[in-house]
């Protein structure tokens, strides 16, 4: 028979130390503080483009190194991890299309350890799409062409996932 749960009162030390009625930031942030925090993100945009350029290079290198066998597994893991990082960063820096393409790539390579030639072609196309977004500094959702490309990659990914 399962044991009854034991409830432990919420720890209060941190709350006692940090929460007060005089000094600090309200639980609901004032608009000027939000603006200040958003400026922190904006200031990091230059570093973001450098970081993504490096990540894209890593993706290309990993893709080029996949030859099959145990090594393929290692490089596919790297592609999964790197595409996940790009997915998480893009929209924060006003590049939601980058996040969308990175998500498409990341979804496609889930559970894929030894890709076929067609699958490698699709991965290459997805990495190319990421390069296009960054090379053209496409902020926002992009236009009709980008939307069609995203749809086309999704169709290819669905068709050749397994």
């Amino acid at each position: 028979m399962a044991k009854r749960p034991t409830f432990i009162p919420p720890p209060q030390e941190l709350k006692r130390k940090a929460v007060n009625f005089k000094r600090g930031f309200s639980l609901q942030l004032e608009p000027e503080v939000v603006q200040k925090l958003e400026q922190v993100v904006e200031k990091a945009t230059d570093n973001f483009t450098v970081e993504v350029a490096e990540k894209l290079k890593q993706l290309r290198v990993a893709l080029g190194e996949i030859g099959g066998g145990a090594e393929a597994k290692r490089y596919m893991r790297e592609i999964r991890s790197t595409s996940l990082e790009i997915k998480g960063m893009g929209a924060m820096f006003k590049f939601p299309l980058l996040t969308a393409f990175a998500k498409s790539l990341n979804d496609f390579v889930q559970g894929m350890d030894d890709p076929t030639d067609i699958q490698l072609d699709i991965i290459a196309a997805q990495i190319d799409a990421l390069y296009v977004v960054m090379a053209n500094r496409i902020q926002g959702g992009g236009g009709k062409t980008e939307s069609q490309l995203l749809d086309a990659l999704a169709v290819a990914a669905r068709k050749y996932k397994d």
Partner: protein, 172 residues
């Protein structure tokens, strides 16, 4: 309306993220909030070494640590390992794995708050403020030790007490 404030200068943070840009950005956001004490780590082992020094008040960790161990392994260690010095440490999990499946896995590992990347600074702040100012009670039940996963309580609920059900430890 609550006039409570959070004095972040009193809080010791540990930020674990192997991505230098994302880790630095969290640090910069915390500094803008007047946080003075921010430790950083890139791996589970270095994070554990800092936690063992007993100065960490809030852990902010990435799920994918790009190494043998993940942020989830770190949470498991904090909540369950006999060597863990603060099993009730507030943990904020950040990840680009934003699908519901991952949210549920994080919750069932004992994470306090979940931040899906890409995030807005407001959503990050909201999770941070909740973790500090609205601590939840902890629960020990078969196979789980962590913050109470029931955030809302219905005083009119008259159904069965599922926590007493041997087939349900909140994993449904």
């Amino acid at each position: 309306m609550s006039m409570e404030k959070i004095d972040f200068s009193k809080v010791n943070f540990l930020v674990v993220d192997p991505n230098r840009l994302m880790g630095s950005m969290i640090r910069d956001v915390l500094v803008t909030l007047d946080a003075h004490h921010i430790d950083r780590a890139r791996t589970m082992d270095s994070a554990i070494a800092i936690i063992r020094q007993n100065r960490t008040d809030v852990l902010i960790t990435e799920w994918d640590l790009q190494a043998e161990h993940t942020g989830m392994d770190l949470v498991y260690w904090i909540r369950n390992d006999p060597a863990s010095s603060n099993r009730m440490l507030p943990v904020i999990m950040m990840t680009a794995n934003s699908e519901e499946e991952y949210v549920v896995r994080a919750r069932d590992a004992g994470v306090n708050e979940f931040v899906a990347k890409p995030y807005t600074v407001q959503s990050f702040y909201s999770r941070l403020a909740t973790a500090i100012a609205r601590p939840r009670q902890f629960v020990r039940v078969d196979g789980y030790f962590g913050p109470d996963r029931r955030r809302r309580r219905d005083s009119n609920y008259a159904g069965p007490e599922r926590r007493a059900d041997p087939d349900d430890n909140g994993r449904r």
